[in-house]
Amino acid sequence: MNVNVSRWILVAYGLYLFLPLYWLMSMALRTNADIVGEFSVFPVAPTLANFREIFVNPVWYQAFGNSLSYVAINTLISLAVAIPAAYVFSRYRFLGDKQLFFWLLTNRMAPPAVFLLPFFQLYSAIGLFDTPLAVALAHCLFTVPLSVWILEGFFSGVPTELDEMAQMDGHSFIYYFFRVFLPVNRGAIGVTLFFCFMFSWVELLLARTLSGAETKPIVVVMTRTVSASGLDWGLLAAAGVLTVIPGVLVVWFVRKHLVKGFALGRVS
């Protein structure tokens, strides 16, 4: 494929990517009457009222906090359990390793809609319902397998000579793992962090089922606005714009690792 052709495809695709985003932003800057009234490409009378509403109304900004807290817990748990697992998958063969790996993936395949009611019952039974931990643990169902999968690919690309060299230098395994192996793989960990954050942040069904009045996440408050106040599109769009920001911050912080980290990934 010609590089120039690809470059044009990228530009065209970028435009395609941009237009709906522009529409979201433009709606966020309009009043509801302006949105559902006459069609116009640019906002007729741009206003920041929608954003102001979100920043002064505790229902909105608390929902942001709720979402961030379960996403953070989920990301921490996922990385903490997935890193050792990915390491042993990449370094050893053991009884049932292939089966275990595929079983992990099958959980990524289970449609959340299937498990809504059992999840609700399970987490109510152990008293976790309406806590950030409940949503975080439920999201582990798909973030942990994905993390193991991505990290295993990266770790397999690190030559085992590195392990052996550290052993010959007389370092303990713990020292080697934390001071040598993990820093070498910080790109991989950055990429995995991005994926955990992303899939946990955007998920709606499980978050809605497992959160009560105390921990309503932002995605749920948004669906509620739709039904309660007669479809306030402007407010919804403003909230939508704001939900993108934490993700952008995460990508921005791991952007160097994103390039480098992806580059280290196993590709064959």
Binding site: L17, R91, A263
Partner: protein
């Protein structure tokens, strides 16, 4: 022709992995935490699927009746066929397009990180917001896309015409997820060692030959991830079509999960919904297993 490129043995490193069952200690936390959220709910679903549940105090064992009913349910079969059509379509568009986009990104430019962040934007938007964006974007009266298409002389209304609804859903999914394929492919492309390209140059390979013999084989690993992820996720798509078309017009965009949710949440038919869930899960398991073993067998060869 292309002697260096077509000989796959060179530069190939086979890692030796020792056998050690103590490695289980490393995977135990993952096993426990995923098992907790996976096994108990799955068992609950299987348990429901063989019972008639009127309320939680009066339930009867009905054996495989719900399974038979589901498989004979014309609406299930329709939803299943629509689902396969949808998943096949989005995969057929997103995978090649994602690779093409990734090839367009410069590997060395200072702009590259910014391009990657911009590409990642649609992935970071909550799914119900994605549905909402497209709902408003494609509205024929006040949406940018809808107005533009109608102004171009095509009569377009996704709320009335099933074909338009389909195209809008596919366009939305392509918008939403092609970036994932592109990011993964870009990762694969940047990790191709320079000697491969030098060998291609020595062979005098043309651009498409470089792609066919150098890049495509090295992209296989990430493409497997991309295809599996897109296959699984497009199969369980729910939130976006629910917001955008609500399954309509008629039932023309009612996919599996939505039909299931109507059954379980809307009508509280727990038994049939559970049987449906188990069948659904088995189908997607079969799909992915076939794909996975096919890839693994190819790997060993």
């Amino acid at each position: 022709m292309l002697p260096l490129l077509t000989n796959k043995r060179w530069l190939k490193v086979t890692a030796f992995k020792p056998h050690n069952n103590r490695a289980w200690l490393g995977v135990l936390p993952v096993f426990l935490i995923v098992g907790f959220s996976a096994v108990i709910p799955l068992m609950t679903v299987v348990n429901y699927s063989v019972q008639d549940i009127l309320d939680f105090n009066s339930r009867f064992f009905v054996g495989f009746q719900w399974y038979r009913d589901t498989l004979n349910d014309a609406r299930f079969v329709d939803a299943f066929i629509r689902q396969i059509g949808f998943s096949a379509t989005v995969l057929a568009v997103e995978i090649p397009l994602g690779i093409a986009v990734a090839k367009g990104i410069s590997k060395t430019s200072r702009m590259t990180p910014i391009v990657l962040v911009l590409l990642a934007l649609p992935l970071l938007i909550p799914w119900n917001v994605v549905g909402t964006i497209w709902l408003m974007f494609a509205r024929p009266d006040i949406g940018l896309l809808g107005v533009l298409i109608n102004a171009a002389g095509f009569s377009y209304n996704y709320t009335a015409d099933p074909l338009h609804a389909w195209l809008t859903l596919v366009a939305m999914d392509v918008w939403h997820w092609t970036s994932l394929v592109a990011l993964l492919s870009f990762a694969g492309l940047t990790s191709i060692p320079a000697p491969y390209y030098q060998a291609a140059e020595l062979d005098g390979a043309r651009a498409w030959q470089v792609f066919r013999y150098v890049e495509l084989p090295r992209l296989r690993g990430v493409l497997v991830i991309a295809v599996l992820l897109r296959l699984m996720d497009s199969f369980m798509i729910y939130t976006e079509p629910f917001v955008l078309t609500g399954g309509g017009p008629g039932n023309s965009t009612t996919f599996l999960t939505q039909y299931l949710a109507t059954m379980a949440v809307g009508q509280f038919d727990l038994g049939p919904a559970a049987a449906f869930s188990v069948l659904y899960f088995l189908f997607i398991l079969l799909f992915c297993w076939l794909f996975y073993t096919m890839v693994m067998r190819n790997d060993e060869r």
